[in-house]
Amino acid sequence: MTFLGMPTTAPRGVGNLRGDESFPAAAHKALQDEQLRRNLGHATTTIRRKSGAVIGELPDWQELREAGSTLKANTMARLPELLDQLEANVTAAGGVVHWAADANEANQIVTDLVKATGHDRVIKVKSMATQEIGLNEALEASGITAVETDLAELIVQLGNDKPSHILVPAIHRNRAEIREIFLREMPGVDPALTDEPAELAGAARRYLRETFLSTKVAVSGANFAVAETGTLAVLESEGNGRMCLTLPETLITVMGIEKLVPTWRDLEVFLQLLPRASTGERMNPYTSMWTGVTPGDGPQNFHLVLLDNGRTAVLADEVGRQALHCIRCSACLNVCPVYERTGGHAYGSVYPGPIGAILSPQLTGVEDNASLPYASSLCGACFDACPVKIDIPSILVHLRNEVPHPRAEKAAFGAVAYTMDHPALYTRAQHAAKLSRHAKKLPPPLNGWTASRDLPEPPSETFRDWWAKR
């Protein structure tokens, strides 16, 4: 029985948290794409080097990580009180706070707010929350055009593509591919455009300029919200965020309920952690902070939409709730050997990589993303890279225990455990293993091993046989 007030997963049929196929099936296709792997390998190697260098400059990186981790745990434990405080402070500063239990409600709130302005176009700052809930699709269904203004989002939108990385949604595209997309899809583009990154950035600048200046409504996400002051923060690089946050008349910010920090001072931790872990910069070019409405400066109508959409279900899991500490830096993607080879699309959700493998199944309920907790070799590189010390490998193991298991696999593991708990049976099984000698191909589901690897020759005697003879 479900009743109101119980933690609830994100609804089906809306948003972008569920893929069409399992991770192994999607990965199989992605791995055929040599260009994709070269692009990803190049980009992730670059960012790992840059990030490592600027992290190395800070003598207190580990202490900052610990502070970030404990701050987030502290925040989660005090969420009701802090959300109350945030709401009061945003309201006092002239903003309007809305609460959205799920993607459908959030989409409806934003659509209604845009319609109320009388405009039919919004400019958007890159936001994971609005991608998660499928806001662009919902706006479009109501006749409202959503223009993505982040360069990588623009590349994805123009290319009719899907985002594949939290920070750089077009990481799977190289400069030559981006040039082709611009030449094909960008109205008024100079046909002499080269694939120099600076020129490509310049083309985006010219293309979006008029849109920035003439659009009256913007939609953003938020990196942080300070409960104590009602201050919102957006970190960005290009200035598209500043455009969206300052030029329009109306600003609508959609934010997950976990994005809170308790006090203004707490930003001193996250403003050091996020840029260095994320883009590998000491500080990103632009950070905007605003508290409600400032008369005469920036949007005079500010709406904050607080989104649940499965977050309370994550919070209900004592082990898994750490996933809500994520500050969306993408460091775990950049160091993940699985992500580096399959890319982000294989994960099916807007949250790819190691964090996606623990967050998506928890937001949707594990039965809807049952293959994701297995999309990891448990190598642990993500845990080391995480600026807020989310123990991703442990949560993966925890979620593997929660997902529905194939019946045959469950029976096999039960049988193995039984054998292993009976040394006589175990010894007999060891000797039986020798019979499989010279088997070059294993039957399904183990054939994946012998597709690329030889089996070892079973030895003539086991260790315990040898020991017994000593």
Binding site: H28, L31, G380, V397, P423
Partner: protein, 244 residues
């Protein structure tokens, strides 16, 4: 010192040479090795595949078997990682606080081979002789779960006759990951392919590591492509002497 050997089911069944080498090395260094016969498998594969209930009796068995010993060694970073970091978790999940406490105790006195040698026995030169070109792959669980750091390399650098060459991108996972290698065989293979190219770049005759499981994976791949590079467990190199 009296040291209990936790052989691991994989080394016991498929790679006894690594386990024998562990015994021979420790005995050569003047220690007594005992083999508690009730041991089977630590249950790591069950835990990492999502079968913690089924792992519970294996955890009980392991804890019961090894509780009487003061120092326990295994020639495997990942099995030690499981004993140290997963057994208590499995016990707690099953609501058995007593087992969890005993599991933590066993975990705290269980060492991976290089940890035992360097941290407990305080030895970096084991007097080994191994005249081959060798590259070392630091397995993920040794590196990031146990934090063995450069202990295996310190031991290898002191081996006579060895030509030790750095493995490029050494800290990247080889793609084994237990059932990952089967459930996500394509991705696992893609990771293995890159690991093998790095091994081949070194021109080494031997690729070594502290885990038979990763070596089985890397070795299986190298054998499939007839690379002519052997995989040898760290214990076997350290156990080798001029005489052997």
């Amino acid at each position: 010192m009296r040291i209990a050997l936790f052989v691991t089911c994989l080394a016991d069944t498929m790679f006894p040479a690594a386990a024998k080498a562990t015994v021979q090395l420790l005995e050569r260094l003047g220690h007594e090795v005992v083999f508690p016969p009730g041991q089977t498998c630590c249950g790591q594969m069950h835990v990492n595949t999502g079968y913690q209930d089924q792992a519970l009796p294996l955890v009980r068995r392991h804890v019961r078997t090894f509780a009487p010993y003061d120092v326990i060694v295994a020639p495997s970073g990942s099995c030690v990682g499981s004993v140290r970091h997963q057994h208590a978790m499995v016990a707690r999940k099953a609501g058995d606080a007593g087992l969890a406490a005993r599991a933590e105790d066993v975990g705290s006195k269980t060492y991976e081979l290089s940890e035992l040698l360097v941290d407990v026995l305080g030895i970096e030169d084991v007097g080994a002789y191994y005249p081959h070109r060798v590259t070392y792959h630091p397995t993920c669980h040794s590196l990031r779960m146990l934090r063995v750091g450069d202990k295996p390399l310190r031991l290898l650098r002191n081996v006579r006759g060895i030509d030790l060459v750095d493995l490029p991108a050494a800290d990247q996972c080889c793609g084994f990951g237990g059932t990952f290698a089967v459930k996500n065989a394509d991705t696992s293979t893609a990771m293995l392919t890159d690991k093998m190219s790095h091994v081949l770049e070194t021109g080494a005759e031997v690729c070594t590591a502290g885990d038979s499981s990763c070596l089985m994976h890397i070795g299986g791949g190298l054998s499939r492509i007839d690379a002519g590079v052997r995989t040898v467990h760290l214990a076997e190199i350290l156990a080798s002497t001029q005489e052997s």
